[in-house]
């Protein structure tokens, strides 16, 4: 899932300073699962904003609406009827959702209430770890299911570097060396050959905004393009 963390309260408050009627839109998918921007987090943030603005003698009316997914047009429809009741929107979705809301309502200022952080896994309640940088050319088949682009601090394709420190990365004693783990796993699987071969320079497809059209769906883009 996409993992986000709420922005510091003072920053959020600063973003919507001067607006007296704001709609806070939560997202019911990734950011809800990672406890950053679902229905509950919307309610908590709104209560904090309400209280803080009262104390500042500049009361604010904050509406709440959590949709299933802000990155999907059909779920944004319910916003159409109410958006004009507000001066601005706060979005607690990931950066994709925030942009999709802003794109739908170009006349309305839209502000982020979270910092989108990574694509990661759920290690425990409230505990998430990054696992994927969405590089567009997955090498997990070669590396025993451990991503060197994400998990190696230098993103090495032919690692490990000389900084491996008792099995850990040179950046921290708490960060395992990805290539050490890759070696151990492939050795157990009898697949060390997989990393003996030279891996050439990456094509870095993530240097431009990417579009994916699944095979058979070319028409849907053609129809939507004016």
């Amino acid at each position: 899932m996409i993992v986000a963390k709420r922005k510091p309260f003072e920053e959020i408050k600063g973003l919507i300073k001067g607006y007296n009627k704001v709609l806070n839109v939560g997202c019911g998918t990734c950011v809800a699962v990672c406890l950053a921007g679902g229905e509950k987090e919307v309610a908590v943030l709104n209560a904090e904003l309400d209280m803080a603005r009262k104390l500042e003698e500049s009361p604010i009316e904050v509406g709440a609406l959590t949709v299933e997914r802000q990155c999907d047009r059909e779920y944004l429809e319910p916003l159409d009827a109410i958006v004009n009741d507000y001066e601005a929107i706060l979005s607690m979705a990931c950066g994709a959702g925030i942009q999709f809301v802003a794109e739908r309502f170009p006349q309305t200022p839209v502000f982020p209430a979270v910092d989108t952080t990574f694509i990661g896994v759920n290690q425990g309640v409230g505990w998430y770890e990054e696992r994927c940088r969405s590089c567009s050319s997955c090498v997990l088949g070669m590396t025993g299911g451990i991503c060197p682009v994400t998990m190696c601090a230098k993103g090495l394709y032919n690692g490990p570097c000389g900084g491996t420190n008792k099995g850990n990365c040179e950046i921290s004693k708490d960060q395992p060396c990805a290539w050490y783990l890759i070696y151990e796993r492939l050795e157990k699987q009898g697949r060390l050959d997989s990393i003996m071969a030279f891996t050439p320079a990456s094509k870095w497809e993530n240097q431009v905004p990417r579009t994916v059209i699944q095979p058979g769906y070319e028409k849907s883009k053609a129809d939507a393009t004016p």
Binding site: A153, K154, G155, L156, Y157, N165, Y180, Y183, A201, S202
Partner: protein, 307 residues
């Protein structure tokens, strides 16, 4: 000869190579480079010029390389993957070669988190293995990484590092083989302190015949003080300083630790001269360039051969 560098000629002639190292200043004082170079002149076959070592900004490696050439020394241009993408790397290689640089050492580079700009974006567009291969392609095929032809391609003697002391140990010799296949002509190892592990590593290197495919220079850094030994032992990732060496330095007594450190380095050099597969020594006398003439003299590596 692939590059025509002095270092390549020395190694090809079968001489025991002796290389040094110089860190550029954290400013614009070229005299500082000249002063350090003056201690190394005639003492070593080539001088590694570090590239923002430990991720701290310094005068660029290629610029300091040019000063060395002007002073009559042969530089070994170190290049890390942390600070430049493939375009910048290739243009720096062209520029450095044009000014007379003939040796390169291709490295990953320390993580930027350690240095004076910990918030910097680490580039790592290509890794050290890919850098080695890119320099080889530029030299042997006369083509840029992107495939276009190079007018008058740079003829570089390609160096790389190897650290026999970082886990997974069993993998390090395979990584060395991979670097050789990628195009490495010579290796300079991480500083050796654990001789047992190094002997073991070299045995595997020789068993695999890797020493016949590339020249291996053993890294030596004399311990200047007990504090330095303890710091390297505990704080520098990928370094292996046995307790026995710390005890030996401790036992030397006040005021005699540096001499004991040099003695240990000299013993190492003597052993490397005889060790199968070792083609030379890379002396990294960090901020101790002025002691290099004495160390070279006592190591019996002077005068340096003229190829």
């Amino acid at each position: 000869m692939k590059s025509g560098s002095n270092l390549e000629a020395i190694l090809e002639a079968g001489h025991f190579a002796f290389t040094g190292e110089l860190g550029p200043p954290r400013g614009t004082n070229g005299e500082e480079v000249k002063k350090k170079a003056s201690y190394l002149k005639g003492m070593v076959d080539s001088v590694n010029i570090t590239d923002n070592q430990t991720s701290v900004v310094r005068m660029s490696s290629w610029a300091a390389c040019i000063i060395l050439i002007q002073e009559g020394l042969e530089p070994n241009f170190q290049m890390v993957c942390r600070d430049r993408n493939r375009l910048a790397m290739q243009s720096d290689i062209l520029g450095a070669y044009t000014h007379g640089v003939r040796n390169m050492l291709c490295l990953s580079g320390d993580h930027q988190k350690f240095g004076d700009h910990p918030d910097a974006m680490g580039v790592f567009d290509i890794d050290s293995m890919q850098l080695i291969n890119m320099v080889k392609q530029m030299r042997d095929e006369g083509k840029f990484l992107g495939g276009a032809d190079i007018e008058d391609p740079p003829k570089i003697f390609i160096g790389a590092a190897s650290n026999p002391f970082a886990e997974p140990y069993e993998w390090r010799v395979h990584r060395l083989a991979k670097k050789i296949n990628a195009g490495t002509d010579f290796i300079q190892t991480q500083c050796v302190y654990n001789m047992d592990r190094f002997r073991e590593f070299m045995k595997r290197v020789v068993d695999m015949g890797l020493h016949e495919k590339c020249y291996i220079l053993a890294g030596v850094t004399p311990m200047k003080s007990l504090g330095m030994a303890r710091y390297i032992a505990s704080q520098v990732p990928g370094m292996d300083v046995p307790d026995s060496l710390i005890d030996r330095l401790k036992g030397a007594g006040k005021g005699k630790v540096a001499e004991e450190g040099i003695k240990f380095a000299l013993e190492q050099i003597e052993e490397f001269k005889e060790m199968e597969g070792v083609a030379g020594v890379h002396l990294m006398a960090i901020e101790w360039e002025h002691r290099v003439p004495e160390i070279a003299e006592r190591a019996g590596v002077l005068p340096r051969p003229k190829p």
